[in-house]
């Protein structure tokens, strides 16, 4: 099996699907000749031609609309929004239009579109590049929202997203693009959207998380193990819909939960997970479900990212709180 970075796994998934299905189209700002600002589409235009992998004018709303129109002609568009902070420019095309296509047409028209976009903190970008806006997307009925944390998951989930007959928002944490390599099988394989993955088994406390915080949580779990606390880490992988089955199974075992997200505290994914757990498993809980999140400010200026982003020390502190409750 090949060792790949997450960005290589993403490119590989795009290549597999471009090869397999001639209706798959990959496009966006700088994705053609340049291969994307992060090189996610490196070499794809050369391999599949300008009709399949192409540059667009610099207009996010136009990219979203283009994807919808191409989907109406039977294509399977995979548009890239260069940074997810730019999603505000295309929120009507995504939330107002593609998310509602099947519903508003009474099931007669669909939008099998995968919107790929980099997001996430820790790489010192300018404003509106790093924000975690998955909560906004998760609130929109009609969208699935996927956030991989490993190269293996990234490839399998992206292939599933492209094959899905409904729109999928596929968010790629920039910090994870090249930070480590992992085993990635060659060729095609899929990972079911909507299924979480237990990244570390444990019996004392459950951490529910996703994206880059999976790795902060795993690091915290290692530290906590030294103090005799055995932590289970669940990687949601899909933040809409949430895999409550996997979460509840773990909660019933550990009876203690901390939910960790990089996004701000208000509303959002963690709040939803907490609400679902207390509705379905309150009698299994030995402590309140706590959250580790960023504060409710606008995303910080890049020099101050480290003091703002949640880190493994914050996670250790909250795990200790639920253990000692």
């Amino acid at each position: 099996m090949a060792q790949m970075t997450m960005i290589q796994a993403i490119t590989d998934a795009l290549r597999v699907e471009l090869k397999k299905d001639e209706n798959v189209l990959v496009f966006g700002e700088d994705v053609g000749q340049n291969g994307g600002v992060f090189r996610a589409t490196e070499g794809l235009q050369k391999e599949f031609g300008e009709d399949r992998v192409f540059d667009t004018p610099l207009a996010e709303s136009g990219i979203g609309g283009l994807a919808i129109g191409l989907a109406l002609q039977g294509y399977r568009p995979v548009p890239e929004i260069q940074f997810f902070g730019f999603v505000y420019e295309v929120i009507d095309s995504i939330s107002g239009q593609m998310a509602r296509m099947r519903y508003r047409s009474g099931g007669t028209q669909t939008a099998p579109i995968t919107v790929r976009s980099p997001f996430g903190g820790g790489v010192h970008t300018p404003e509106l590049h790093a924000d975690s806006l998955e909560g906004l997307m998760a609130q929109q009925p009609g969208l699935k929202v996927v956030i991989p944390s490993t190269p293996y998951d990234a490839k399998g989930l992206l292939i599933s997203a492209i094959r899905d007959n409904d729109p999928v928002i596929y968010l790629e944490h920039m910090k994870l693009y090249r930070s480590f390599r992992g085993e990635v099988p060659e060729g095609e394989y899929t990972i079911e959207i909507g299924k979480a993955d237990v990244k570390r088994e444990g019996k004392d406390v459950t951490i529910v998380t996703y994206g880059a915080m999976v790795h902060a949580s795993l690091k915290a779990a290692e530290e906590l193990e030294k103090n005799g606390i055995d932590v289970e880490v669940i990687d949601l992988r899909t933040v809409s819909p949430i895999d409550m089955e996997t979460i509840l199974e773990s909660v019933k075992k550990t009876n203690r939960v901390v939910v960790v997200q990089e996004a701000q505290r208000q509303a959002g994914i963690a709040a939803n997970v907490v609400a679902e757990i207390q509705e379905r498993a309150i009698l299994h809980l030995e402590a309140p479900v706590l959250r580790v999140t960023a504060p409710d400010t606008v995303y910080p200026f890049s020099e101050a990212e480290e003091v703002w982003l949640p880190n493994y020390n914050d996670i250790i502190e909250k795990v200790n709180t639920v253990v000692n409750f």
């Binding site: 009709d51 667009t56 004018p57 207009a59 709303s61 136009g62 979203g64 609309g65 283009l66 994807a67 919808i68 129109g69 191409l70 989907a71 109406l72 002609q73 039977g74 294509y75 568009p77 009507d92 095309s93 107002g96 239009q97 099947r102 519903y103 508003r104 047409s105 009474g106 099931g107 007669t108 028209q109 669909t110 009925p141 009609g142 699935k144 899905d164 007959n165 409904d166 909507g194 819909p241 949430i242 895999d243 409550m244 089955e245």
Partner: protein, 360 residues
């Protein structure tokens, strides 16, 4: 330093074939339509005028819901549609229900759209169109995608989309034309300039002298057309369609028109922003009056012919509204079914919950 605005704007002249008296003022561009086709065009305009009158009445009786009146705009709507083929794809705005009907959407479904029933949005097999768009301009960017798709599929078909004068102020208006231009997509962009975006007059939308000239910035052709002259609108759209399919690029057509009625039937009062003088000035340009005179001059139309269309329209409407009224009511479980191809767990649970509620 050379200023070009004045010279560019001055080149946008209104394209016309019939004047207000139904006389041909432009023989060169006269479309090649048979007598039967000319009569059919008139028939559709009369039918649609009756449909508008009856829809307004049905709305007042509470039998229809959301309705955007169309009277005054028949030449713009039906003249442009008459230049299309069955394979062409329509992306309408909310006032563009007549084009959908003439493209194949059954009348009872148009009524269901008005009443707020999703079956009104279910285009029958072979009717290439989206349901009417509510967000102003959103259909323009989608049209670029459909137009590019048609080009890439090698189809001899176009994507045609409609907005109003207000829509030209939206970013999506420009983005749609710009994308279509950059890709040489098969597109026709229509702006029905009826002078008012709800209440805001055209002059307050933009400093541009014409809306057609906005095409220039996107590098595509733009044409201003007399939107009360059905032959001019037809000829312009036909020309745009041929160009698009031949790979000569998309085109923007601004039709100068007027809506006699309110913006919608949801409480808009046009007397707050339009004078009676302006209304009567435009009624003199009426597309039906003008085309009727033209046809009568050719002995192709009569009061009898007109009454026949009116009776047929009334009869169809009566049947269609009855069918719409009797159509099964919507249930929450219908909505849940229409969210995804495969329901995620949260909706599976909610489906069970609402199935139980609905069976009580």
């Amino acid at each position: 330093m050379k200023h070009v605005l004045e010279s560019v704007e001055s080149q946008f002249e209104m394209f016309q074939i019939l004047n207000e008296d139904g006389e041909v003022v432009n023989k060169d561009d006269m479309p090649n339509l048979s007598d039967d086709e000319l009569k059919e065009l008139m028939r559709r305009m009369v039918y649609t005028r009756i449909l508008d009158q009856r829809s307004i009445a049905l709305n007042r009786q509470g039998r229809l819901g959301f309705y955007a009146p169309t009277a005054g705009q028949e030449a713009s709507q039906l003249g442009s549609h008459f230049a299309l083929e069955k394979d062409d794809f329509i992306l309408p705005g909310y006032r563009d229900v007549p084009q959908l009907i003439w493209h194949g959407l059954p009348l009872y479904q148009a009524f269901l759209f008005s009443k707020g029933h999703f079956h009104g949005n279910q285009m029958p097999e072979g009717v290439h169109a989206l349901p009417p768009q509510i967000i102003i301009g959103a259909q323009y960017v989608q049209a670029a995608g459909v137009g590019l798709g048609l080009k890439m599929r090698g189809k001899k078909a176009v994507a045609i989309t409609y907005t109003g004068d207000g829509g030209t102020s939206q970013g999506d208006f420009y983005e749609g034309m710009n994308f279509a231009g950059a890709y040489g997509a098969h597109n026709i962009f229509i702006v029905q300039n009826n002078g008012f975006a709800i209440s805001v007059p055209r002059e307050k939308q933009t400093a541009a002298k014409t809306l057609a000239q906005k095409a220039v910035a996107a590098g595509i052709e733009g044409l201003q057309v007399d939107g009360m002259d059905v032959l001019a609108v037809y000829a312009a759209t036909k020309h745009a369609r041929e160009r698009a399919i031949a790979g000569e690029g998309p085109m923007l057509i601004e039709t100068i028109t007027y809506r006699y009625g309110p913006h919608t039937m949801a409480g808009d009062d046009p007397t707050r922003y339009r004078s009676a003088d302006l209304d009567s000035e435009w009624e003199k340009k009426d597309p039906l009056v003008r085309f009727r005179k033209f046809l009568e001059g050719k002995n192709l139309w009569s009061e009898e012919a007109e009454n026949e269309v009116i009776d047929k329209a009334k009869e169809d409407i009566k049947e269609a509204i009855k069918k719409a009224d009797q159509y099964p009511k919507q249930k929450v479980t219908d909505f849940i079914s229409n969210m995804f191809e495969t329901l995620p767990n949260n909706l599976v649970e909610q489906m069970e919950e609402y199935k139980a509620k609905e069976s009580k």
